[in-house]
């Protein structure tokens, strides 16, 4: 009895970081770990597709455009999701679509974090006119309906050249999503920074003569980074949905498979009884969305003790 009682007390004495504690809690959540595994599978698939394209590997997933059968062939053992109008394997298109969706979600998340986190931190730390300007910008942006805003950005950005690089297809999608979806994280970080900027460790840093950027980026941001991680995981699924919507509306990837484009194609094919393309894309989105949602919730519970639901 004594041994088991003393071990936790020793650990408590050593102290556990927020991250170690979070990971420990997360590992106890079996469903979350299963979801994490699913997410890793999707990410690996996207990564593998990238590598296969770069190194020109002879694997089926990158040969999505190959004609494997007749036009609109029903699902068979050989082609579990049948074929599309051009006789392309719907399964291969679905697998390839993971690359498109994950690229968009990843890039859009990074763009939105790159804008939202520093803006929120600076606004929260300095306050005054800087804070007012940032709050005014994000309040204005958030007053515009989200999908309309993304659509407007996508239409404006499409086929434009920026720094010598032409913005087309997939890049239009993640830029449009990234540039319009930083408001949420900006607001969260601003609030956290306002709350923490009077903390002892900040006062200590100030008294040591640290500059404002050093305080923000070396002391404050690392302490609120768990919020960024949670937000990242929860918004990731939203970005995948946004990609699907934009592709569905014809503003996404035009000539490569994406789940949104597949659903768009399948929409008119349903009337001729071709249901398999819609089904395949929906299943792919369903599992990834579900996994991301459950894992995101678990991550939030583990990293943010105040928001714990378990």
């Amino acid at each position: 009895m004594t041994d088991t009682a003393t071990v936790p007390s020793l650990q408590a004495q050593k102290g556990r970081s927020l991250w170690t504690d979070g990971v420990r809690r997360l590992r106890r959540h079996r469903l979350a770990m299963l979801c994490f595994l699913i997410i890793v599978l999707y990410l690996s698939l996207a990564g593998f597709t990238y590598l296969a394209e770069i190194f020109d590997w002879d694997v089926n997933v990158v040969k999505w455009s190959e004609e494997v059968g007749e036009s609109y062939q029903r699902p068979t053992m050989k082609h579990p999701f049948g074929t599309d109008i051009f006789g392309q394997s719907v399964l291969r298109k679905t697998l390839y679509g993971a690359k498109t969706s994950i690229t968009v979600a990843l890039c859009a998340s990074l763009i939105s974090l790159a804008i939202g986190v520093p803006l929120g931190a600076v606004a929260g730390y300095f306050g005054g006119i800087i804070d007012e300007v940032v709050v005014w910008v994000y309040s204005t942006l958030s007053s515009i309906p989200y999908i309309l805003l993304i659509l407007a950005f996508a239409v404006v950005l499409q086929d434009k050249t920026f720094l010598g690089v032409k913005i087309t297809g997939i890049s239009t999608v993640y830029l449009a999503i990234g540039l319009t979806s930083w408001v949420g994280i900006c607001r969260l970080i601003r609030g956290e920074v306002i709350k923490r900027k009077q903390g002892d460790y900040v006062l200590a840093a100030r008294s040591y003569g640290c500059s404002a950027p050093a305080i923000i980026f070396r002391h404050l941001l690392p302490n609120v980074f768990h919020i960024v991680i949670i937000n990242f995981s929860l918004r990731f699924v939203g970005f995948i949905h946004a990609e699907v919507i934009l592709s569905f509306l014809g503003l996404g990837e035009a000539d490569r498979p994406s789940w949104g484009a597949m659903i768009n194609d399948a929409r008119i094919e349903l009337s001729r009884g071709v249901w398999w393309q819609m089904t395949a894309a929906t299943i792919a989105i369903f599992f990834l969305s579900l996994a991301l949602n459950i894992f995101g919730d678990a991550l939030r519970d583990s990293l943010d003790p105040k928001l714990r639901t378990r």
């Binding site: 036009s71 051009f86 086929d159 194609d265 008119i268 094919e269 009337s271």
Partner: protein, 602 residues
């Protein structure tokens, strides 16, 4: 006292009431005869002087009228007077046309006229309309039709080059070949005979009279404020979504034809013979870019007629190409006819990669499996286009299919591609294929062509754009490759061949910006000849020259399958005319009965 929340609630309630009041666009009087159509694309504008696409023509032809028109019922197709009193009096040397214009033709009432009342059309209006097209500042797509044809008109065009702005142009400046001895007589003097002038130009919407007052009053907005003499006038145009035309009260009335071709009476096309047109009170076009919603609206009886989307073909047509039982149950009728249209992948001959590389153009042409294309995109309805001239024309060369211009030969295409790379001096760059439309059909269309070309080793990127953007780029000669087509408005193959004449470069009909001196020489020779075997021989020779140079990979000639409801009367397919809404009549009782039928079927 009403508190703050009460005030907000009251305000919201008033807003809801205000916005909820008034007729919705689709809501009409039960007894009103309304023609309901689908417009599958956005329309650029409704100014006849600068209209060239079939969608603008479809609406514009109900508002504007020309001197001549096609007889609605007679076959072979026949030109008859519309605004003219009679067919023109042509001089022996075929150079002078004297045209008597009907009296009592009035423009629709519009605020551009004094007192808002439409004035009578006079011969000067036709002269003004032609001078307007000649005005280089106006940049009309229709100039190529009149280039080097009418005495003094080219000089007028030269004069406009020197004017600083459109406002500074003196339209009273005389043009020798356009005379008006009196208000109802128009005399056109030609530089050289132009036997097809009546059908090509005087029955073409571009020559419809436009009131100078309207152009001056609306300025650039004239494209959305059409002021015509036709049976209908524009009531409402919500850009990109909705057109509503209503009867023009100033329309003089026109009698429905008394005769047609044999069998027309039996088919009911002469039931309204002699009755004054138009029959309909209103025409509505709803812009629906997607074929599926349009199809469902047709089945619901919200639209009078419809084409058949490729994905619904099996629902409407059996394997024997007859109507299915479900269509029969709905009393839907099928009309099929060979549409005088040709579709192609065009090459911009000014492009530095494609223009000088015939082997590359041939390789692309050989890479496309037309039969597969027709199977996938038109359910085997269409015909392979071996050249530009459609089979229903006299000058169609029946041997052209054996000459193999549209042969699918992937191996040969690969050999040609190697040759093309030698001509280019290295690896070919990524080619750009412009496709008008951003919907699923357009994407699949583009993807199919890209796949065919990439199969032989080319790198091609499809670029999807809306119709106005596509036209703008096309007219600016900035497209490299483009999917396009032409629909003949006359029975003469000249309508297709003019697309290869070098004086008609974009924004004219020659979107390929193709030039061949021998072709031009023959074209200039043929266009002044009367119809006959010699001219047909020249036409075939010209077609062969153009095919040898390969400025386009021809794909298909469309065979139209059109469905219409039982209540939609006088629907006789016409391959060339657009202003046909005045002939249409709705059997209101049958339209009403369809609602009950739908309930039963459900």
């Amino acid at each position: 006292m009403i508190n703050r929340y009460g005030s907000i609630a009251l305000l919201l309630f008033v807003l809801v009431i205000i916005t909820g009041c008034g007729k919705s666009p689709s809501e009409t009087d039960k007894n009103e005869m309304v023609l309901r159509h689908i417009m599958p694309t956005k329309v650029r504008g409704l100014d006849p002087g600068d209209m060239r696409d079939r969608y603008s023509f479809t609406i514009g032809s109900q508002i504007f009228e020309t001197l001549y028109q096609y007889h609605f019922l007679k076959r072979p197709y026949e030109i008859v007077p519309l605004l003219a009193e009679e067919m023109p009096l042509v001089s022996d040397d075929l150079l002078t046309y004297t045209i008597k214009i009907q009296k009592g033709i009035f423009y629709q009432d519009d605020e551009c006229f004094a007192g808002g009342k439409g004035r009578e059309v006079q011969a000067d209006d036709f002269v003004y309309s032609l001078k307007r097209i000649a005005n280089i500042k106006y940049l009309s797509q229709n100039w190529s039709l009149f280039d080097d044809k009418i005495v003094g008109l080219d000089e007028f065009r030269e004069y406009t080059k020197g004017c600083e702005s459109e406002q500074g142009i003196d339209y009273s400046r005389a043009v020798e070949g356009l005379q008006t001895p009196d208000d109802y007589t128009l005399v056109i003097r030609l530089k050289k005979p132009w036997p097809q002038m009546v059908s090509t130009a005087l029955a073409d919407l571009s020559t419809a009279p436009v009131a100078r007052e309207a152009v001056d009053f609306y300025g650039k907005d004239i494209i959305s404020n059409p002021v015509g003499t036709g049976p209908f006038m524009l009531e409402q145009w919500r850009r990109g979504s909705y057109f509503e035309l209503v009867r023009n009260p100033n329309f003089r009335g026109e009698a429905y034809p008394l005769e047609g071709e044999p069998g027309d009476a039996e088919r009911g096309y002469l039931d309204d013979a002699g009755r004054i047109m138009p029959f309909a009170d209103k025409i509505i076009w709803t812009v629906i870019l997607e074929s599926q919603p349009a199809w469902f609206l047709f089945l619901e009886g919200k639209v009078d007629s419809s084409g058949i989307p490729k994905d619904n073909f099996g629902e409407a047509i059996t394997q024997n190409m007859q109507l299915t039982e479900s269509m029969h149950q709905r009393n839907i009728h099928l009309k099929t006819f060979l549409d005088p249209s040709t579709f192609w992948v065009g090459f911009n001959m000014l492009d530095s990669v494609l223009g000088k590389n015939k082997a590359l153009r041939l390789a692309i042409s050989r890479s496309i499996a037309r039969e597969k294309f027709i199977e996938l995109f038109s359910n085997n309805r269409d015909m392979v286009a071996h050249g530009m001239v459609v089979p229903l024309m006299d000058s169609y060369n029946p041997d052209i299919r054996d000459e193999g211009y549209s042969k699918y030969a992937p191996q040969e295409a690969k050999e040609l591609l190697k040759e093309a790379e030698k001509v280019h001096g290295g690896k070919l760059p990524v080619l750009k294929l412009a496709v008008p439309g951003t919907d699923t059909f357009a994407r699949q269309y583009g993807q199919f062509l890209v796949r065919q070309m990439t199969n032989i080793g080319l790198e091609v990127e499809a670029q999807y754009m809306d119709w106005p953007t596509y036209l703008e780029k096309m007219n600016g000669r900035s497209l490299q490759m483009f999917t396009s087509g032409a629909h003949a408005s006359i029975t003469d193959a000249q309508d297709f061949l003019q697309s290869f004449y070098s004086r008609n470069w974009a924004p004219g009909a020659n979107n390929f910006n193709y030039s061949n001196p021998e072709f031009d020489r023959l074209y200039e020779k043929a266009v002044v000849m009367l119809d006959g075997p010699e001219r047909r021989r020249l036409y075939r020779k010209m077609e062969k020259i153009a095919l040898d140079d390969c400025p386009a990979a021809f794909l298909n000639h469309r065979v139209a399958y059109v469905l219409h409801h039982d209540w939609y009367k006088n629907y006789k397919p016409h391959a060339f005319a657009y202003g046909l809404s005045k002939y249409r009549r709705i059997d209101l009782e049958k339209r009403q009965a369809y609602k009950d039928l739908l309930k039963k079927l459900k």
